[in-house]
């Protein structure tokens, strides 16, 4: 995947507010299109995004449940900061060869939140083009990190969306760089939240770095396999593709920080503000990660 194909959560062009007229000649505003979302067809097990209740439920009851409760023994703090209704953008630090953090954040909301809601995880476009992944990824609630997708989920469908602004830079970093947050993209996620008038909930994850440490990246093999990167971990590639799931039993700690609201109209037009907010959120997550590490006595037992 060449750098030009990298995804950004930024809208390419400014879209007009009035998008058409009704048969009676009245203007149709983009904001009002929310009323025209298709009704949910209750007979279906797959939603319009390709999320499958059946596949997701099966994984949730087996692998995810096992890892959450017994392997990582996740400890959650401040889950009530996730709003019970309306769209919200969760922003987290990111790590691990096949990152376990997204699944754990989703599971923690499902398990601990008073009003559990499904979480949509944004992923690279790469997964849509890779056989196998392409089939599985949407079924378990992942969507491509396209600004239009985030806008529709946050604003129109009022759902929870999880983004990792570090993106691939977070997951390909080596063990020696653990818990040093990378640059938060170009601030596209802040813009997306401002457009959708949705709050941002920063999330800090500790333990993911140790559970799937990456010792080296092999560029030659990455090119040969067409994967986004080819890491060497304690189990991959020694145990084959399933080695990606060979996580070490590090203790997981998740902390949800208080939401940040954007109340003014058209805030996203101020680029400086967008960048400042992005920096501020990154700093807040970094600070809290260090705080959690400071009090951690053991990697394996917390």
């Amino acid at each position: 995947m060449s750098p030009s194909e990298r995804t950004s959560l930024r809208f390419r062009e400014e879209e007009e507010d009035v998008v058409g007229t009704t048969a009676a000649g009245l203007p149709v505003r983009r904001g009002n299109l929310r009323d025209y979302l298709p009704a949910v067809e209750t007979d279906r097990q797959v939603n319009d995004w390709g999320r499958s209740e059946r596949v997701e439920g099966l994984l949730d009851r087996t692998i995810v449940d096992f890892f959450y409760n017994y392997w990582f023994r996740a400890e959650v703090d401040g889950v009530e900061n996730v709003p019970s209704a309306g769209g919200a953008l969760l922003v987290s630090n990111h790590s691990g060869a096949l990152p376990p953090d997204a699944a754990m954040i989703a599971k923690s909301i499902k398990e601990e939140h008073p009003h559990p809601r499904p979480l949509n995880i944004t992923v690279e476009h790469f997964f849509k083009g890779y056989p196998g992944f392409s089939m599985l990824i949407p079924k378990i609630g992942c969507v491509a990190a396209h600004p239009a997708n985030v806008q529709r989920l946050l604003y129109d469908e009022e759902q929870l969306v999880l983004v990792f602004p570090e993106g691939r830079k977070g997951t390909e970093k080596l063990y020696k760089d653990r818990y040093k947050l990378r640059r938060f993209g170009r601030g596209g996620f802040v813009e997306a939240a401002m457009r959708a008038q949705a709050p941002i909930v920063p999330v800090c994850v500790v333990g993911a770095e140790e559970s799937a440490p990456i010792f080296a990246q092999v560029n030659v093999l990455q090119k040969l396999t067409g994967l986004i990167y080819f890491p060497l971990t304690p189990t991959f590639p020694w145990l084959g593709p399933l080695g990606m799931l060979g996580y070490l039993p590090a203790k997981f700690k998740l902390r949800f920080l208080p939401p940040i609201y954007f109340n003014q109209d058209r805030m996203w037009e101020d680029n400086a503000l967008v960048q400042t907010v992005a920096h501020e959120i990154r700093a807040r997550i970094q600070e809290n990660v260090l705080d959690m590490l400071k009090t951690r006595k053991s990697v394996w037992f917390g």
Binding site: V19, G20, G25, V28, P38, S52, G132, A144, R152
Partner: protein, 471 residues
């Protein structure tokens, strides 16, 4: 904004399924005065009042048709969106050059065209890895098109855009339709779903959205009846996974196409009669979803969701082997209709064609009888007998084209009633009168208002009655 309802419509692509379907649908609407259909081949279906002109996309000829018929609305249904139906050279000729010519025929300051409706396709967006899950109308393609059909559609839409800019007073509507499915329309996807096993690309389960054939025609009609400038996605609600489509159809899918070298494998499958065009390969890999809300916001209601569209096709496919050859063809007396329209022996009271009105009702007849008897009593030239209402059999074809008479005549002095009647209303009742009543009526009309149309019509009816009486 004011509503300009389309009155005189030109439909291109009459030899395609959509052109014929749309023309037949428009014929049902009595507000539409004239429907002219053009194509280089015969119409795909029987049509009642659509005038067919055999003309291709030569803009000089088309312009003459448009000017002569004072066309105010052009509906272009001619676009080829399926590369299996023709060669890519002919498709290019039709899609790009044809669109250009039709637009040339409609442009210019003196043109009578006020509305242009273009049937495009969601192939405009293509299928790519970095697509959004739902395309909105304002989004472009992320990458330039790779298949010939997609390239044609992008070019055709570019010329539509140019036309829109140059003719700001023309209402230009462009529809990007999702893949169409339905019991009657043949598409590449329909043929794929008719296979006993449905091929898939290994490791991919694309998202698919369909639109039912009836919704396509209704959408075009909706744009004809209202002013909807802009581009609209038209797709049924809901996006299905391909495996979901297969299970709704009750078919088994087989992932026999390899993820790498898919094009070569598709070529090999062609030998076994399984045709997978290149634009479909993209869809089978990445799928596509459309945001259909902008069109819904204009007041359009879809009759089918994507799921219902697939279910309906599934039902049809299951019944197909049982009902093969049983279905009745479209009942239509072509020769009779041709005679009524073109024969010099058919007399026309007026030029206007409209819906054939029903025969005069018994109540109306007796009203006129009452009036006539009153008139006869006032100046009795002949003995008067009561005619049976069954005489309506004798109505000549000419009366069929007259507009419906007023349903009820007001009570009062009979003579005043008669004078209130319009000439056409009188004429439409003539056929049901006896000979001597007609003579009485003629005398009255001559002495009274003396309307030429009524007198001529009475003479006509009388002269046609004579041979029958003397036989």
């Amino acid at each position: 904004m004011t509503q300009t309802t389309s009155k005189r419509i030109l439909v291109t692509g009459l030899s395609t399924y959509w052109g014929a379907r749309l023309a037949r649908e428009l014929e049902q609407n009595p507000d539409i005065e004239a429907i002219v259909g053009v194509d280089s081949a015969d119409p795909a279906g029987e049509l009642e009042r659509t005038e067919f002109v055999r003309v291709g996309t030569q803009h000089a000829l088309l312009r003459r048709v448009v000017e002569a018929a004072e066309i105010d609305t052009v509906i272009d249904t001619r676009l080829v969106v399926d590369s299996t139906v023709t060669t890519s050279r002919l498709a290019h000729e039709n899609n790009v050059i044809g669109t250009m010519n039709i637009l040339a025929a409609c442009s210019g300051p003196a043109s009578s065209v006020r509305k242009f409706i273009f049937k495009s396709s969601a192939h405009f967006y293509g299928c790519n890895q970095d697509d959004p899950a739902f395309f909105t109308e304002s989004m472009g393609r992320p990458h330039p098109p790779r298949t010939p059909i997609e390239r044609d559609i992008v070019e055709a839409e570019a010329s539509i855009e140019e036309f829109r800019e140059k003719n700001p007073d023309v209402c230009v509507t462009a529809f990007r339709f999702a893949n169409v499915l339905g019991p009657d329309v043949q598409t590449a996807h329909r043929r794929l779903f008719e296979l006993p096993l449905i091929p898939m690309i290994l490791g991919f389960d694309p998202r698919y959205q369909f639109v039912q054939e009836d919704d396509v025609v209704n959408a075009l009609k909706h744009a004809a009846l209202h002013d909807l400038p802009g581009i609209f996605n038209v797709a049924g609600d809901g996006v299905l996974a391909f495996t979901e489509v297969c299970s709704l159809l009750g078919k088994q899918f087989v992932p026999i196409l390899p993820p790498w070298g898919t094009g070569i494998a598709a070529q090999a499958l062609r030998r076994f009669g399984v045709v997978i065009p290149p634009e479909m390969l993209g869809q089978l890999r990445f799928g596509r979803g459309l945001d259909n809300r902008r069109f819904k916001a204009t007041g359009f209601g879809y009759r089918y969701t994507t799921r219902e569209t697939v279910q309906k096709l599934g039902e049809h496919l299951r019944l197909q082997p049982i009902l093969a050859g049983v279905r009745e063809p479209y009942r239509y007396e072509r020769e009779v209709e041709e005679f009524l329209r073109w024969s010099p022996y058919v007399r026309r009271g007026r030029e206007e064609e409209g819906e054939p009105p029903p025969m005069p009702s018994v109540a109306q007849l007796s009203e006129l009888q009452k009036f006539l008897s009153a008139y006869a009593a006032a100046a009795p030239p002949q003995p008067h007998t009561e005619p049976e209402p069954a005489a309506a059999d004798e109505v000549e074809p000419i009366e069929i084209h007259e507009p419906e008479p007023e349903p009820e005549l007001p009570a009062g002095a009979p003579v005043d009633d008669y004078d209130d009647l319009e000439a056409e209303e009188v004429i439409s009742l003539l056929g049901s009168l006896e000979g001597h009543d007609l003579v009485a009526l003629r005398t009255y009309e001559e002495t009274g208002q003396g309307r030429q149309a009524v007198l001529r019509a009475i003479d006509g009816v009388l002269s046609r009655r004579e041979p029958a009486g003397t036989r």
